[in-house]
């Protein structure tokens, strides 16, 4: 295991040409296809600085190995946050890992995903160079947006060494409207009603668990209470409560995005938001971002269960995230069909990593 202390050192290690696997907080190491064994493990643990927190500009520069939770603590002192709340049970997730896997949580609804919040990136590339793209300012169109290319690339185009992120003010007085329902159609209709209203919700989730479900809508701001009442009034037949101490509710939503035990599987489905009903019906249990159209579905860890889910939600893409190695090595984790798009991705991979040394075999299409 190598522990480089600078982007330059990372680049030098890559230049040696060994099949390399970057390692952050080890919270999602087994995501993706199993791939080839690494000849070199490269830990980002010494790249753990919050390099800059520019409170007045609402931006921050973070080294890849900085823990998300530590960075959030720094931002919180200024009443700010990085509006990115993926599940992070042991508080070990690093920003590099979150960006590389493009993981997100309930705040995805209002603030977008990693791709919306990362405004600059520094990557060590397979050719031994260190390249930057983006900048410290939220508005910038100079050069290609390579930061987006790196988000969700699972370290297969290079090693992310540093990111620049956009921050937001902490919300005032968040409260959650919680509505229970056991009918996917009704939950979908209720979510649709809220999506159509100009409410500026912080988050809009659905929880589904063996024929029991709930809709969760968080509002914040000076008029949060009044708005929560108004929302509750829109939910018709559902059984509604307003929860002021809503922290554990959302913690639970986040936790459900991960497999509770080693012998479970979780797949992520992206879908057009009105298709929520179909996704819920196909899922034994799930959490869904009802506005964004994303669901984390818990399923039995078998190839048949995954295939059945994919058929039921077709044509919407479905990626296996958590799951036992035995499953991940027998199925196509990514489910991305051969075609012009995958061919173009291969061309991108070939330009950035011609020798295939960056996390070989872990990405879609065997990249």
């Amino acid at each position: 295991m190598q522990r480089p202390a600078s982007a330059q050192e990372v680049a030098e290690l890559l230049a040696e040409g060994r099949v390399t696997r970057p390692v952050g907080g080890r919270t999602k190491l087994d995501w993706g296809s199993p791939g080839s064994p690494a000849e070199l493990e490269l830990s980002t643990e010494r790249l753990d600085a919050v390099v800059e927190h520019n409170a007045g500009d609402l931006t921050a520069v973070l080294q890849a190995g900085a823990r998300l939770a530590d960075a959030q603590a720094v931002f919180a002192r200024a009443g700010q946050r990085l509006a990115l709340d993926p599940p992070d049970l042991g508080a070990r997730a690093t920003i590099g890992g979150v960006v590389a896997t493009s993981d997100s949580g309930p705040l995805r609804h209002h603030y977008g995903g990693v791709r919306e919040l990362v405004i600059g990136v520094q990557v060590a590339l397979a050719d031994g160079t260190v390249a930057r793209a983006g900048s410290r300012v939220i508005k910038n169109v100079a050069g290609y947006d390579l930061a987006k290319l790196m988000c969700g690339s699972f370290g297969t185009l290079g090693v992310i060494c540093e990111v620049i992120v956009r921050l937001h003010p902490q919300p005032v007085d968040p409260v959650t409207v919680l509505a229970h329902g056991a009918d996917p159609r009704e939950l979908t209709r209720a979510a649709g009603t809220l999506r159509r209203l100009p409410l500026e919700l912080e988050a809009l989730d659905v929880r589904w668990d063996r024929r029991q479900g709930a809709l969760l809508a968080q509002v914040a701001g000076r008029a949060a209470r009044a708005n929560a009442q108004a929302i509750a009034g829109q939910l018709g037949d559902l059984e509604v409560e307003i929860v002021a101490e809503d922290h554990t509710l959302w913690e639970d939503q986040r936790a459900r995005q991960r497999a509770a035990a080693d012998e479970q599987a979780v797949a992520r489905v992206s879908f057009a938001p009105a298709e929520l009903e179909r996704v819920l019906r196909a899922s034994p249990s799930a959490v869904a971002r009802a506005g964004a159209g994303m669901a984390w579905v818990s399923l039995e860890p078998s190839p048949e269960a995954l295939a059945a889910l994919r058929t039921a939600v077709s044509p919407w893409p479905c990626v296996l995230l958590d799951g036992p190695e035995a499953l991940r090595s027998t199925v196509d984790v990514w489910g991305l069909a051969e075609g012009p798009e995958l061919a173009l991705m291969r061309r991108v991979k070939a330009r950035f990593d011609p020798g295939g040394i960056c996390n070989r075999g872990r990405f879609a299409g065997g990249m």
């Binding site: 791709r115 300012v137 508005k139 910038n140 947006d145 964004a292 173009l344 879609a364």
Partner: protein, 498 residues
């Protein structure tokens, strides 16, 4: 203008090649949509940045995506470079034609293909104007990125420039609203990137394409996300003696945790100029005007609006006007949107810059611009997106005075340098195009530029798409470096692959 174009002399071989291409294009798009005569082609010589102009030798107006694909395929076979053009309102010379290539004009492709409000998506052809999208989904929904040029500029151009607008501080930029693209690659092949769903598996090629300035392919079908229109909107304008206290007000508002829908600043010079055009009755002696618009749920707005008024006063506002109705609000925005055209009233010519600075550095950089303006003896009017620090200094000059254009250009360059020194960017929304490519090495190192080139080569290995734009110097792609080489350790049996 001062940068008079030289006339390109075509060789016989080039002429013959273009003639062959023209014949192919006629059979693909119909004769009436292929332009070969100089008098038809003049219109397309420049985009919104008039100081550059090249009359293209050939232009085509395809009618749908299949025709675009066939056109690009023909170019690829004959090795002819091409430039895509939307409405030609770009301000960086992005759609400037190349002398030896084809101009592909997308303005016939203006169909709105699908309005899917259940999913909050709209699918359009690239020639559809920005404002037409909001019209198609209004009044319940709107499409937030709103460039001042929205009546004319095309969605294809917006995608390619990652355009912004006054409301982007709160709502984000074009890239945050494009969910799907059909792209014709430089060999004529068609790829679908994304669709109606967010974050599909694989590399985010959609994200990489947005803002690529026509160098990665042509977007022929675009899926956009639209959102519910805000319940209420309130707008005020605060006047200050100078830009410094106005800048303080911006910082105070943002620090208070408020995210205004828009927060725009005009300096004294631009207030004076716009007043001559828009006649809003604003105090022309004011040193700065700050337009702050709040939108959102009505109850939230009431609570926040009083705070904003108080913060403006505390920062030294000399006068505050709250728009009483929609007519007055429109008038405030007319003042803001008149700023570019009105600059023509105070100066025969001007250059618009588009540098960005971190918000906390606004006051310092504005002071620097003022002293540069004094040093060069040229007026610089300022109107800008204050919330995200995106400046639009208008460097005024008289092109009839020998040497003045050159000095104005030099001054513009010094302003960009000041933005970069403050930790900002060359361009916030207008793009690099031909105009700012020479400054790219000041913002990016050689490895950065070479990483950009890797992406470009993956999409367009032959360099046919909008050549000569974005990158500071022409580069070739070369072959993809050879396949995996056996590592010495492995060869020695010290490491195993599988």
């Amino acid at each position: 203008m001062h940068l008079a174009p030289g006339r390109y002399i075509y060789t016989d071989v080039e002429r013959a090649l273009l003639r062959r291409l023209a014949t192919r294009l006629q059979s693909i798009c119909g004769e009436e949509h292929v332009l070969e005569h100089e008098h038809d082609l003049f219109t397309y010589a420049s985009d919104g940045l008039l100081q550059y102009s090249v009359v293209p030798p050939l232009a085509v107006l395809p009618g749908d995506g299949a025709e675009v694909s066939a056109v690009v395929h023909a170019c690829h076979e004959l090795g002819v470079p091409w430039v895509a053009r939307g409405s030609g309102s770009g301000l960086s010379g992005g759609a400037l034609p190349v002398e030896h290539g084809l101009l592909i004009v997308l303005s016939r492709m203006r169909r709105i293909l699908e309005v899917d409000l259940d999913n909050q998506r709209v699918v359009v052809e690239p020639g559809v104007t920005n404002v037409a999208v909001s019209h198609a989904v209004g009044p319940d929904y709107f499409y937030p990125p709103d460039p001042s040029s929205q009546i004319v500029c095309s969605i294809g151009g917006n995608v390619s420039e990652n355009s912004g607008g006054a409301h982007c501080f709160k709502y984000g930029f074009t890239t945050n609203y494009v969910t799907g693209l059909e792209v014709v690659l430089a060999d004529g092949e068609v790829v679908q990137l994304g669709g109606k769903a967010l974050e599909p598996p694989g590399y985010d090629l959609l994200g990489a394409f947005v803002g690529s300035e026509g160098t990665l392919g042509i977007a022929t079908r675009i899926t956009l996300r639209v959102i519910p229109s805000p319940e209420a909107v309130r707008c005020l304008v605060a006047f200050f003696d100078s830009v410094e206290p106005a800048g303080d007000a911006v910082s105070a508002i943002v620090a208070a945790g408020t995210v205004p829908g828009a927060i725009e600043m005009m300096d004294g010079l631009s207030i004076g100029a716009s007043e001559q055009m828009a006649h809003a009755g604003w105090p022309v002696e004011a040193g700065a005007a700050l337009i702050v618009e709040l939108d959102g749920p009505a109850a939230e707005l009431e609570a926040r609006f009083d705070e904003i008024e108080a913060l403006c006063r505390q920062s030294g506002a000399t006068e505050l006007r709250v728009a009483r109705d929609e007519t007055e609000r429109t008038l405030f925005w007319k003042m803001r949107k008149s700023a570019f055209p009105a600059a023509g009233r105070i100066s025969p010519h001007y250059f618009v810059q588009d540098g960005v600075v971190p918000r906390t550095r606004l006051t310092g950089v504005l002071g620097r611009i003022q002293s540069l303006s004094d040093e060069y003896g040229l007026k610089v009017a300022n109107v800008f997106h204050a919330g995200d620090g995106n400046l639009h200094p208008l460097v005024c000059y008289d092109g009839h005075i020998p040497g003045e254009a050159e000095r104005a250009e030099e001054l513009s360059g010094r302003i960009l340098e000041a933005c970069l020194e403050a930790g900002g960017s060359l361009t916030g929304e207008h793009g690099v195009g031909v105009d700012k490519k020479r400054y790219m090495p000041r913002m990016f190192s050689e490895p950065d530029l070479s990483a950009f080139q890797k992406l470009r080569c993956a999409f367009d290995p032959d360099g046919l798409a909008n050549p000569g734009k974005v990158m500071p110097t022409p580069r070739l792609c070369g072959e993809v470096p050879g396949p995996y080489r056996v590592h010495p350790l492995e060869a020695a049996g010290l490491a195993e692959r599988f």
